[in-house]
C-alpha cells in the first residue's frame, strides 16, 4: 500500500493528478483524508532549504529594451535581475524591520542628521574583488551626482555630504531623517565595484548569483556563486532562470504545465479559479500599493474642497475592492497609508460611501454643472477603465456630472498623469510613511501629482522626520493623514494586494508586504523541495 501511495503522491507532484483525486484514491486504500493531506504536505515540504536544481520564474514586466543598470531600472523583470546579482546596504525585512546586508550596523546621531553605516568586511564581488566602503561611496555618488539619470535621484536629494572613514560610510543630511536607513534599501542603490561608474550594466555585485545569459525581453539566467557570503539564507537553487511572459494567460499556462515554478501578477479575475488547479497555490500578500484618482487642488474646479469632498463621498470603495480587485485588496481612506506601514494610526475614521453627503457637498461647492472630466487608461492600473465607470455611476447617483475620457496607454505617464487635473493612477507604496509623503505630498516633491502644497503639512512632515520619539511621531503622522484625507486631492478607493502563484514544490515562501513575490526576492530566497 505504501508503494502505491508513494506512486500516487509522486503523480501529484508531477502534476498528473489533483490533490482532491489523491485524497480520494488514498481513501480507497483506507487512509483518512487528514493523513493523506499531511502525507502530501510532507512530500512537498522537506526539512529546511534544499540546494540545487533550476528554479524558474515566469514574469511580466520585461521588455527587449531592458538593461542591467540599476539606475535605469523601473519595471519588474529588471528588478528580479538586480536581486540576483546585487545587494543594497540594507534590506527592509518582511516584518518591516531593517535587515543588514552590505552594512553590518547603522547608527544615527541624536538629531538624525548623521548616519554611520559600518560596512561588512570580506564580502567578495563576483569579479573576485572584495567590496570596500569606497565602492559604497562611489555607488551613492553615481546615483546622486549632477549628471545622474538614476531613479533614486529624488531620495538622495536631502544628503549634504558623504564620506568614508575607515570601515564606515558616513552620510550627513541637511535636515534630520530618522528613516534614512530605509531609504538606503531602495533597489536602485545596488552596491557595484567602483560604484558602477565605468560599466553600470555589467551585472557585477555581491548578490548570490552571477549572470549566465542575458537576453532582454526573452529570458535571463543566473548561476549560483560558490563564494557568496550569505549562502545560509539566500541562493539555494543552482540555477535561477527568468522567462519574460508578459501575457497573463501565457504565464498561468506555463505554471500549470510545469514549465515555470512561480509567476508574478496573477490577474485577480482568474486568481480564485487558478487556485483550484492542482499542484500550485496562489499567494496574495497585502501590500502598500494603491490605486488612485488624483485631482490637482490648484486647478478649477478641483480647487474647491467641497467639490473634492463630494467626489470622495461619492465613490463606492467596497464595490471597487469587490469588482476591480475581486477581493484581493482592501478599501482606502483617501490618504496613502495603511496598516502595512509602521506607526499607522488605526483610530482614524473610515470615510464611507454616502450619496446624501456627496450631494450636499456638491451643492455647497456651487459647481456650475459642467461635466467633470476624469481621464483614465488601461495602463493607469489594471481595471482602471472599469473602475472609472463604476465611479461615474455612483457619482451620477449623487447628481455629480462625472464624465470619462479614455486615453491611450502610450504616453499616459508623460501626457496625462501629473499633467491633466483629474486622472487615474497608481502608487507602489514605500517602506515608511515619511518616504511616501515626501515622494508625493510635500510641496517641493517631484511627483506631487495632486499639487498639494501646504506649509503646515510640510512642517509636520519635517518635524516627524527628525523626531526620534515614536509616540510623538505617530501622533504627527496621524494629524497629517487626517489633513490629507479631508483636504487633499487624493481619492484613494483601494489598496491592492500582490497576487502571485507558486508551484507545490517551491519551499521557503514568506509573505512580504514590501513588494510582489517576496519583494522580488522569491527567486533567491525560495528553493525546490524536489531538487
Amino acid at each position: 500500500m505504501t508503494d502505491q501511495l508513494k506512486h500516487l503522491s509522486e503523480k501529484v507532484t508531477k502534476g498528473l493528478m489533483t490533490r482532491r483525486e489523491f485524497v480520494g484514491r488514498a481513501a480507497a486504500l483506507g487512509v483518512t483524508a487528514a493523513v493523506a493531506n499531511s502525507m502530501l504536505a510532507s512530500a512537498a515540504k522537506a526539512a529546511g532549504p534544499v540546494r540545487g536544481g533550476t528554479l524558474k520564474l515566469g514574469a511580466s514586466g520585461g521588455e527587449s529594451t531592458n538593461t542591467q543598470d540599476p539606475a535605469l531600472t523601473a519595471s519588474e523583470v529588471p528588478l528580479y535581475n538586480l536581486r540576483h546579482w546585487g545587494e543594497t546596504l540594507v534590506d527592509v525585512g518582511a516584518d518591516g524591520n531593517i535587515e543588514y546586508r552590505m552594512a553590518e550596523s547603522v547608527e544615527g546621531s541624536a538629531d538624525a542628521k548623521q548616519w554611520v553605516f559600518k560596512i561588512r568586511k570580506g564580502v567578495p564581488f563576483s569579479n573576485g574583488k572584495d567590496m570596500t566602503p569606497e565602492d559604497v561611496l562611489m555607488t551613492m555618488q553615481r546615483h546622486s551626482n549632477e549628471d545622474s539619470q538614476s531613479g533614486a535621484l529624488g531620495i538622495m536629494r536631502g544628503i549634504e555630504d558623504m564620506k568614508v572613514d575607515g570601515d564606515n560610510f558616513i552620510v550627513n543630511l541637511s535636515t534630520g531623517n530618522a528613516d534614512l536607513p530605509y531609504l538606503m534599501a531602495d533597489y536602485h542603490l545596488m552596491i557595484q565595484p567602483g560604484g558602477g561608474m565605468d560599466d553600470p550594466g555589467a551585472g557585477i555585485g555581491t548578490g548570490p548569483y552571477t549572470i549566465e545569459f542575458d537576453e532582454p525581453g526573452v529570458r535571463h539566467g543566473f548561476k549560483r556563486r560558490e563564494d557568496y557570503w550569505d549562502a545560509e539564507n539566500r541562493g539555494f537553487a543552482e540555477f535561477s532562470e527568468q522567462l519574460v511572459l508578459n501575457d497573463a494567460t501565457a504565464r498561468t499556462a506555463a505554471l500549470q504545465s510545469g514549465q515555470v515554478h512561480m509567476i508574478n501578477r496573477v490577474d485577480p479575475k482568474v486568481a480564485s479559479l487558478l487556485d483550484r488547479a492542482p499542484n500550485l497555490s496562489v499567494k496574495s500578500t497585502a501590500g502598500r500599493g494603491h490605486y488612485v484618482f488624483i485631482m490637482h487642488v490648484d486647478t478649477a474646479p478641483f480647487d474647491n474642497n467641497e467639490l473634492r469632498l463630494a467626489l470622495k463621498y461619492a465613490i463606492n470603495r467596497q464595490e471597487m475592492v469587490d469588482k476591480i480587485l475581486r477581493g484581493y485588496g482592501s478599501i482606502g481612506n483617501d490618504f496613502p497609508i495603511n496598516a502595512g506601514y509602521p506607526l499607522f494610526d488605526t483610530s482614524i475614521a473610515q470615510r464611507a460611501h454616502d450619496l446624501a453627503k456627496a450631494a450636499e457637498h456638491y451643492k455647497k461647492s456651487g459647481h456650475d454643472g459642467s461635466p467633470i472630466i476624469l481621464r483614465t487608461a488601461d495602463g493607469a492600473f489594471p481595471g482602471a477603465v472599469d473602475a472609472a465607470a463604476l465611479f461615474q455611476q455612483s457619482a451620477q447617483a449623487a447628481g455629480i456630472p462625472l464624465e470619462i475620457k479614455r486615453e491611450p496607454n502610450d504616453g499616459y505617464w508623460s501626457e496625462v498623469w501629473n499633467v491633466q487635473p483629474f486622472c487615474a493612477s497608481y502608487w507602489g507604496g514605500r517602506p515608511v510613511q515619511d518616504q511616501m509623503y515626501s515622494t508625493a505630498y510635500l510641496s517641493t516633491a517631484d511627483w506631487n501629482d495632486t499639487r498639494f502644497k501646504r506649509p503646515e503639512f510640510d512642517e509636520m512632515l519635517l518635524a516627524a522626520r527628525a523626531e526620534i520619539d515614536e509616540v510623538k511621531r505617530k501622533e504627527i503622522y496621524s494629524k497629517m493623514a487626517v489633513m490629507l484625507r479631508d483636504e487633499g486631492g487624493l481619492i484613494l478607493p483601494m489598496f491592492n494586494d500582490f497576487v502571485g502563484a507558486i508551484a507545490a514544490n517551491v519551499g521557503g515562501w514568506v509573505d512580504d508586504p514590501n513588494g510582489p513575490l517576496m519583494n522580488n526576492k522569491a527567486p533567491i530566497k525560495c528553493w525546490l523541495t524536489d531538487a
Binding site: K14, S148, G154, G201, L245, T249, A250, S257, S414, D446
Partner: protein
C-alpha cells in the same frame, strides 16, 4: 538585356526608393507619438534633471533632421547603430530575432503551403461534394477565430489537459505512459536559444506552427480552389476531359500550371504575413521574434531600432512581391516571350 533581368533591376531600384520613403515615414511616425525615449525609460519616476541628463547622453536633444541624417549616414555605411534604451548593438540583437522569426515562418510555411494547395486541389476534385464542403468549413472556421484564441485553446487542450489525461490512463503500461508523457509534450512557452538542438527547437515551436498554419490555411486554399475552378471552365480542359483523362490528372497537368500566377501571389502575401505579422502569436507563446522586439522598442520610442525593423519588414514585403511577379512571368509563356 533579357526582359526579366531588366524588370528585376527596375523593381530593385524602385524597392530601394520605397525603403527610403518607408524610413522617413517611420521616423516621422515615431516623432509624432507622445513622449520620448528618455521619458519612457525613466517612466513614472522621472525627475526633470534625470530626464535632461538622459536626453543629453542619448543625443535625443538634437533636432530631428540632424538625427535622421546621422542615422541614414550610418545605415548607408552598413552600421545600424546601437539601441538607445540599452546600448546594445542593433545588428547583433536583430539578427538573432530575425533568425527566430524566419525559423518559425519557414516551418509554418513548409507545412501550410503544400497543405493548403493540396486541400485546394482536393476541393476542386470533389467540388460541391462533402470533402469540398468539409475542407471549406474547417479552414474558414479556423481563419475566423482570432489567432490568440486558437493559441489559448491549443495551450489549454494540448499543454495542460493532455498530460493530465494521459496521467489518468491507469490501464496503460507504466513504460508506455511515461513514454507518452515525455514525447507528447506540447510546450506552451516557445523557448528558443543557441544551446538547443534542431529537434528541440522544432518541438518547442510546435504549437505556434499549428496556430499559424490554421490561420493562413484558408486564404491560400480558397484562392487555389477559385483559380483552378476558373481555369476548369476553359475549352482545353473540356478537350482533355473528352480525351478521357482522369480528373486529378487534368487538374495536375492542365489546370494547375495555368492557375499558378494568382496562387503564387496569395502564397507570397501569406509568407509576408508569417514574417511580419505574427506579433500576437509571439506574445501568446513568448516567442523571441521580431514582432515583440519591434513593439517593445516602439513603446520606448527607440527610433534606431524601430527604423531597422521597419526597413527589414519593408524589404521582406518588397522582396516577396518581386518573387511573386517573377514566378508569374516565368509561368506564363505569353509574358515569358513578349513580342
Amino acid at each position: 538585356m533579357h526582359p526579366i533581368l531588366k524588370l528585376v533591376a527596375q523593381r530593385l531600384a524602385l524597392g530601394l526608393l520605397l525603403l527610403f520613403a518607408a524610413s522617413i515615414l517611420i521616423f516621422v511616425g515615431t516623432a509624432i507619438l507622445p513622449g520620448d525615449v528618455a521619458q519612457s525609460i525613466l517612466g513614472q519616476s522621472a525627475t526633470p534633471e534625470a530626464l535632461a541628463n538622459l536626453r543629453a547622453e542619448l543625443g535625443v536633444d538634437q533636432p530631428a533632421i540632424t538625427r535622421y541624417f546621422s542615422w541614414l549616414g550610418g545605415v548607408l555605411q552598413g552600421d545600424l547603430g546601437t539601441a538607445l534604451t540599452n546600448g546594445r548593438d542593433i545588428a547583433e540583437s536583430l539578427s538573432t530575432r530575425l533568425g527566430n522569426t524566419l525559423f518559425l515562418a519557414f516551418w509554418a510555411a513548409l507545412i501550410a503551403v503544400p497543405l493548403a494547395i493540396t486541400l485546394g486541389l482536393l476541393a476542386v476534385r470533389y467540388k460541391d461534394r462533402w470533402p469540398d464542403k468539409l475542407i471549406s468549413a474547417i479552414t474558414l472556421t479556423t481563419i475566423s477565430i482570432p489567432e490568440f484564441m486558437i493559441g489559448y485553446l491549443l495551450i489549454f487542450f494540448l499543454s495542460i489537459q493532455l498530460p493530465l489525461l494521459i496521467g489518468g490512463m491507469e490501464f496503460l503500461p507504466d513504460g508506455l505512459q511515461s513514454w507518452l508523457l515525455s514525447n507528447l509534450r506540447f510546450s506552451s512557452v516557445a523557448l528558443m536559444n543557441d544551446s538547443m538542438t534542431l529537434i528541440e527547437k522544432i518541438k518547442s515551436i510546435t504549437l505556434p506552427i499549428m496556430v499559424l498554419t490554421l490561420v493562413v490555411l484558408a486564404h491560400m486554399m480558397r484562392m487555389t480552389r477559385a483559380a483552378i475552378l476558373n481555369v476548369m471552365q476553359s475549352a482545353y480542359i473540356e478537350t482533355a476531359e473528352l480525351k478521357g483523362l482522369g480528373m486529378l490528372k487534368i487538374i495536375r497537368k492542365h489546370a494547375f500550371p495555368n492557375a499558378i500566377a494568382p496562387i503564387v501571389n496569395v502564397v507570397m502575401l501569406n509568407l509576408a504575413y508569417l514574417v511580419v505579422g505574427v506579433v500576437v502569436v509571439e506574445v501568446v507563446f513568448a516567442y523571441p521574434g521580431m514582432g515583440q522586439y519591434l513593439v517593445d522598442h516602439v513603446s520606448k520610442r527607440d527610433v534606431p531600432v524601430v527604423q531597422a525593423c521597419g526597413l527589414i519588414f519593408a524589404a521582406v514585403y518588397i522582396g516577396l512581391n518581386l518573387i511573386a511577379d517573377i514566378v508569374s512571368i516565368l509561368a506564363n509563356p505569353r509574358l515569358r516571350h513578349p513580342k
